[in-house]
């Protein structure tokens, strides 16, 4: 198959690519091809203007060779990367010492421009320049650019965010495929994983971005998680390897991507929205701290006690007194004869006893709570997520009720929030009363920590009427 490429005459950046077949049969493409060939164009990569260069070749030579999935330790020759002279790196060498695995030793095995890091350490300031996101045609999110403040060391660096699979299990063969792509197109350096849960492939020259993304998607991974959209959602290990989970976090996340993929890949919200799904109140994903929308597994009835098992756990040396003392509600009572009992009024369903005592299991009336507004910075600093819905049933496979609610919530956010205002900041600005009414949740004592002490309150004139008992 003959391929026709139109490239920048100066830097070789491919602006368009066709097959000979397409040019013969698709009039729209033929028209565009002629148009581009005859016009003076500006290259988005190097900003050189002029006529585009045409190159023709047969498919084998043009098509990027597919990564050799499964081939152990295969390395492909790097594509046009800036070469770095080996200069002294005393700071990085100092950080390569010590018993813990060293990141500087790892950097030195790659094509990362080590002088950028070394000089940052020496000068005590970062050597990178302003950064942001770019969209490539067909790749709306997932690509970040980072300018360099030291162009003589490196001109800059792009990287790609790859959405992690549910459960963060990676098949060795698939991971080797990603390694091949990173070797071929990038620094040969991976970030496993970013704190947002993405796998990042670092140092991809602009002209390699498109082929790199294409090969990543060929492996079955997708890119995303930049810009003002749903960022990559994180889920706890859930039913894949945990005995405590209260709903199927992995299935929930998969269904999430089925339903909301467009909102993940096409930014449209006022600011980013981070979603975390925790299987139980142990919150291993730290969703209560950093998620704009946090879906947490909860149960309403009391923990289940298998008295025989608990007794044998105590007999085997389990410290039941410690658990009873540390129970936050003071709800547990142990009696060697009667066994363990729970005070239903004060039990907080916090999971502590269930975590620690063999023979205790979460209750059966299970669902999820939805909390909103957690963030690490936003405008007004770190904020814990606030309860919006204390209990809602999570029904597989499509979790319609939960997702419908979240959609309603983001519609309110999208409609009323200001530009670059995180959900938590928005909630803080408009206030609990208005926010809860906009979203349409009923007041419930489960929604607040305590009533206010300040008696100042703005009443609307429309609220003033004769309210005496008849």
């Amino acid at each position: 198959m003959e391929k026709v490429k139109l490239c920048c005459a100066k830097c070789g950046f491919t602006i368009e690519e066709y097959t000979a077949d397409e040019l013969a049969t698709v009039p729209r493409k033929a028209k565009r091809y002629k148009y581009l060939l005859n016009k003076s164009s500006i290259c988005p990569s190097c900003l050189a203007s002029g006529r585009l260069k045409e190159s023709r070749s047969t498919g084998e030579a043009v098509a990027a060779p597919a990564p050799q999935v499964g081939a152990k330790s295969s390395t492909t020759a790097p594509v046009a990367h800036e070469e770095h002279a080996a200069a002294a790196t005393p700071m990085m060498d100092a950080l390569a010492k010590g018993p813990w695995p060293s990141h500087t030793a790892e950097l030195k095995k790659t094509r990362y421009p080590v002088q950028m890091y070394e000089e940052a350490l020496q000068k005590r300031t970062t050597q990178w320049g302003y950064g942001g996101y770019v969209s490539l045609p067909g790749v709306a999110t997932g690509v970040l650019v980072r300018a360099s403040a030291r162009p003589e060391i490196t001109k800059g660096s792009n990287f790609v965010r790859i959405m992690d699979p549910c459960g963060n299990f990676f098949k060795a063969d698939a991971m080797r495929g990603l390694c091949d792509i990173a070797d071929k197109y990038a620094y040969g350096l991976l970030h496993l994983l970013s704190t947002g849960g993405d796998l990042e492939m670092l140092g991809i020259p602009t002209e390699n971005l498109k082929p790199a993304v294409e090969e990543i998607t060929k492996l079955g991974f997708d890119v995303g998680s930049t810009g003002d959209d749903y960022r990559t959602s994180e889920e706890c290990i859930g039913p894949a390897k945990c005995d405590l989970t209260l709903y199927d976090t992995l299935g929930f996340r998969y269904a999430w991507y089925q339903r909301f993929l467009d909102d993940v890949q096409y930014p449209r919200f006022p600011h980013k929205i981070k979603c975390k799904f925790a299987g139980c109140p142990n919150d291993c994903v730290r969703g209560g701290q950093k998620a704009d929308i946090f879906v947490c597994g909860v149960f309403r009835d009391l923990p289940k006690i298998d008295q025989a098992k608990v007794a044998s756990w105590v007999k085997g040396g389990g410290d039941i007194t410690l658990i009873c003392t540390r129970c936050p509600g003071g709800s547990l009572q142990w009696d060697a004869k009667k066994g363990l009992s729970i005070d239903g009024d004060s039990c907080m369903r916090c999971m502590y006893c269930i975590n620690k005592i063999s023979g205790m299991r979460p209750g059966d009336d299970r669902g999820v709570a939805i909390l909103v507004g957690g963030k690490m910075r936003g405008k007004y600093g770190p904020m814990l997520a606030k309860v919006l819905v204390p209990f809602i049933k999570a029904v597989p496979p499509d979790y319609k009720e939960v997702f419908d609610f979240i959609e309603r919530l983001t519609e309110v956010y999208d409609e009323h929030a200001r530009k670059k205002e995180r959900l938590g900041d928005f909630l803080l600005r408009i206030g609990i009363n208005e926010f809860f009414q906009l979203v349409g949740v009923e007041p419930s004592p489960l929604l607040f920590a305590q009533p206010r002490t300040n008696l100042f309150y703005h009443w609307e004139p429309s609220e003033i009427r004769d309210e005496r008992q008849k």
Binding site: T125, F170, G188, H191, L193, C242, L261, R418
Partner: protein, 352 residues
């Protein structure tokens, strides 16, 4: 091209997980770094947890080594945890020692479970970020070197999580952790006038949390230096106000007591206990010193299952400062906070 979403569970889960999906009934910490899960099918699953270089930034050569090891020991799959450890899931119990020995030879420690130091996490810092006020990766390397024995053993009262962020944007989640290192700027953001035309000035003005940025004629702004809290929202929103920072201006704050779980005292954000320490590469001795003091006091004083924040809640802040010997300043209770006065003491229930 994009638009395919995340891989299906069928494609991404290892066989032992598929066989027992949702059927686990109990788990136990066999030894540091090794967890055993029992399934109602009668199958037992052993997981081996491995520490990673700071920032989990690894060369493809190292990733391939993990791939080869997972082919050898865990049916060709490995997992990356929330705190960036590598987990080999489903290792045959007879081969656990062999795997640990192979990893040790390659320089990778096994541990980070239960009452130990969990793998440290941090943001990219100087490695790849234009906002970084410090390099948490280097700090985490220094701390991990110092605490590696606590990673491999379970001598702590409860689990200990240490995270580092390279600026107040807190991508490294310092405020989530038991002990967090959050880098701070102390300089005013610059205003590069020639670049201001390329900025959305109304946005720059509105993102400032204290209203320190004001318009000054057409296409020009000014900063009220008294009100600036160096957050640096404007530097993010506008290239003309970046880069912020300088060698002596930047440094780190130490925060303690963050926790996500609803057990004990419930979820909490970490609180600032040391407002500023200087950047001192490559090993940040001032920072490691403070962290060591906090950990030593916590280990000596905490009851079993008491995380750092819960220990402080019980003994109170006066005892915390007394036991750790950290210098105190009003800068830890004043500062930018909507509820600033609530940080001052009311009542006289003193824990002398």
């Amino acid at each position: 091209m994009p638009g395919i979403g995340v891989p299906t569970l069928e494609a991404s889960l290892p066989p032992i997980v598929k066989r027992n999906y949702g059927k686990w009934i109990t788990h136990e910490h066999v030894r540091p770094g090794v967890i055993k899960h029992d399934s109602e099918t009668g199958e037992a699953c052993y997981t081996v947890r491995v520490g990673m270089p700071p920032n989990a930034r690894v060369s493809t050569g190292t990733v391939r080594m993990f791939c080869d090891l997972s082919d050898e020991f865990s049916e060709g799959y490995f997992r990356i945890t929330q705190r960036n450890s590598i987990e080999f899931v489903g290792v045959p119990p007879a081969r656990i020692d062999e795997l640990i020995a192979v990893l040790a030879k390659a320089g990778y420690p096994v541990g980070g479970t239960n009452r130990s130091l969990h793998n440290t996490t941090c943001c990219t810092g100087y490695l790849h970020c234009h906002l970084a006020a410090s390099d948490p990766a280097a700090i985490m390397k220094s701390l991990s070197d110092m605490l590696i024995e606590d990673y491999k053993t379970e001598r702590f009262p409860a689990k200990l999580k240490i995270s580092g962020s390279g600026c107040i944007n807190n991508c490294g989640e310092g405020s989530c952790a038991d002990i967090g290192i959050v880098a701070i700027h102390r300089d005013l953001p610059p205003i590069h006038e020639e670049k201001l035309k390329g900025c959305e000035l109304p946005l720059v003005i509105s993102v400032c949390p204290t209203g320190a940025i004001k318009p000054k004629g057409p296409n020009m702004i000014e900063i009220d230096p008294k009100r600036c809290i160096h957050c640096p929202a404007c530097s993010v929103a506008c290239a003309a106000m970046a880069p912020i920072g300088s060698a002596n201006g930047d440094g780190v704050a130490i925060v303690v007591g963050g926790k996500a779980a609803n057990t004990g005292d419930g979820p909490a954000m970490a609180k600032v206990v040391v407002p500023y320490l200087p950047n001192n590469p490559p090993r940040w001795p001032e920072v490691t010193d403070v962290v060591k003091k906090i950990i030593d006091a916590w280990v000596a004083g905490a009851r079993k299952d008491e995380r750092v924040g819960e220990w402080i809640n019980r003994i109170g802040w006066p005892k915390f400062y007394q036991r750790t010997g950290l210098p105190l300043s009003f800068k830890v209770m004043d500062g930018y906070d909507a509820r600033a006065l609530e940080l001052a003491k009311t009542g006289v229930r003193f824990q002398w």
